[in-house]
């Protein structure tokens, strides 16, 4: 490393994190540890110190105790880019969001235009990376592809901006339009590398829930979370929540691309998982809506607690927008379960915080587990029930934390 000045490579960029399509690794003997390397914890611009999985492209993971809060503070919100070349300065006098393609009237909108010419809307929504919690797949099968995120590649924020529908209506979508493509200002290192370009069907784009956000928790978006604009797709994994959103292209035809057809895809079957053989052999489908999930914010793993303490076990739960019905908790490793008390409802796409008062009566090791169920009966799978996929996407099994009572 020392003899390389990486500044020479600026402007260069590749991607990863997107899974390759190798088979499920079959070796039984070798445990593929996911904890060999401990990433440094360093403060990036506008961020408190976070786990730095990578500095270029920046990948920053939030700590677990963030899940004691229903709204994730901007300065602790996770970061995940795909390309190494991210502009380090954006002049709002020059920045424009272009709306083009199969529209009657192409638009070139400044952030001020968005704030002044459209009705502002606000939504509280979870933003979760498709590969979030990926490292826990190693508990049920081979370690999956890609960087091994813990639970900290998600957060929940109040997004404020403009309906994508309203922007498209102003431009006037032509009758022939079938798809909408979105991309931002991040660039690869080499011209030949595929751009981070995401597509959605026109009906989804016009659904009214999608938003072009210019504010997050009442502030400008942090630079690393996509300043000045990002797409918000409530209930959906973050792969199409494009940051530094700069182009919206209305299209008559679907455009094949690595980031749509290969990355962020899972086997196209009921379990969206590998039943046998290799992930390779399956027809693919892109990950889309999120799955019901709950995580423990406190206590964090290996916390030492005095016997007889009144422990306020806290965490958050969410789903694809159907709403959380109940979060169950076990303090004996899953033998018995009790109900937690659901806290304030911030909206159907937001974290639902929950609390459980626990008074451990005996010394020893305890495993705390949580399991959420939503209003349509989707329940988190047990760890040994979750379907494995090579990309390590959509992990949502029962969360557990070991603590010691002394």
């Amino acid at each position: 490393m020392s003899n390389i000045n990486r500044r020479n490579f600026l402007g260069a960029g590749l991607i990863l994190g997107a899974s390759t399509l190798l088979g499920k690794e079959t070796s039984q003997k070798i445990i593929t540890s996911t904890s060999d390397f401990t990433p440094p914890v360093i403060a990036f611009p506008e961020k408190k110190p976070l786990k730095v999985i990578s500095d270029r492209p920046p990948l920053l993971e939030s700590p677990r105790d963030i899940f004691t809060q229903a709204i994730t503070p901007n300065d602790q919100f996770f970061v995940r880019w795909h390309m190494p070349d991210i502009p380090t300065h954006i002049d709002l006098n020059e920045f424009r969001l272009e709306v083009k393609g199969s529209v009657e009237k192409p638009l070139s909108l400044s952030v001020d235009d968005l704030k002044s010419k459209f009705e502002p809307v606000e939504i509280t929504s979870v933003l979760q990376c498709g590969g979030n919690s990926r490292r826990y797949f190693a508990g049920v099968g081979p370690a999956t592809h890609g960087v091994q995120w813990g639970h900290g590649a998600m957060g929940c924020a109040v997004w404020r901006g403009v309906r994508l529908k309203d922007i498209l209506h102003m431009a006037g979508v032509k009758g022939s339009a079938r798809w909408v493509g979105v991309n931002g200002l991040e660039k690869p290192a080499m011209e030949e590398t595929p751009k981070f370009f995401r597509e959605m069907e026109i009906d989804e784009a016009l659904s009214g829930e999608l938003m072009v956000a210019y504010a997050m928790n009442g502030e400008d978006l942090p630079y690393l979370n996509g300043f000045p604009l990002r797409l918000v797709i409530p209930g959906h994994f973050s792969d199409s929540w494009v940051k530094m959103l700069s182009e919206i292209t209305v299209m008559d035809e679907y455009r094949k691309s690595f980031f749509m057809d290969v990355a962020y895809t899972v086997p196209d079957n009921d379990c969206e998982c590998v039943v046998s053989g290799s992930d390779f052999e399956y027809k693919r489908k892109p990950i889309a809506v999120m799955k019901v999930k709950s995580v423990i914010g406190y206590p964090t793993p290996n916390t030492v607690i005095k016997k007889g303490s009144r422990v306020k076990v806290t965490g958050v739960a969410f789903d694809q927008g159907k709403g959380i019905k109940e979060v169950m908790i076990s303090t004996d490793g899953g033998k018995s379960w009790s109900a937690t008390v659901l806290q304030k409802d911030y909206g159907k796409y937001a974290y639902r915080p929950w609390v459980y008062q626990w008074e451990p009566k005996a010394k020893g090791e305890y495993t705390i587990m949580v399991r959420a169920i939503n209003r349509i009966g989707n329940i988190q799978p047990q760890v040994d029930e979750i379907g494995w996929n090579a990309g390590g996407y959509q992990y949502n099994a029962v969360d557990s934390v070991n603590v010691k009572i002394v």
Partner: protein, 104 residues
């Protein structure tokens, strides 16, 4: 009233755009094992991403690293000659992976 106050606060706080000066990104010197032609891995892999991408995946099998290098070449168009691809794969397997004795 409370709502109005909140709205005013939101409007006020979004009025300050962050245009003043460029952000400066920290540089992390992720460690790379020396030897076995680590310079070839440095030369190509780091064009596009930090070594953190490798370190934070945990140890992987030869078929995995082979597939990953192929993905870099075929999908992301990394300009790595055949011979150098093999050097990088061997380096990754030796220091960041393992051989698979059966299967594959």
């Amino acid at each position: 009233m409370k709502k109005l106050l909140l709205l005013t606060l939101i409007l006020a706080s979004t009025a300050f755009a962050q245009v003043a000066k460029p952000i400066e990104m920290p540089y992390i010197d992720y460690p790379m094992v020396k030897g076995d032609h680590d310079e070839v891995a440095q030369q190509y892999c780091l064009i596009c991403h930090s070594w953190g991408y490798v370190l934070n995946q945990g140890k992987k099998s030869r078929p995995y690293w082979t597939g990953t290098v192929q993905k870099m070449v075929n999908e992301f168009k990394a300009p790595i000659a055949k011979e150098d691809q093999q050097t990088i794969i061997n380096y990754l397997v030796k220091h960041y992976g393992y051989e698979v004795t059966s299967g594959h």
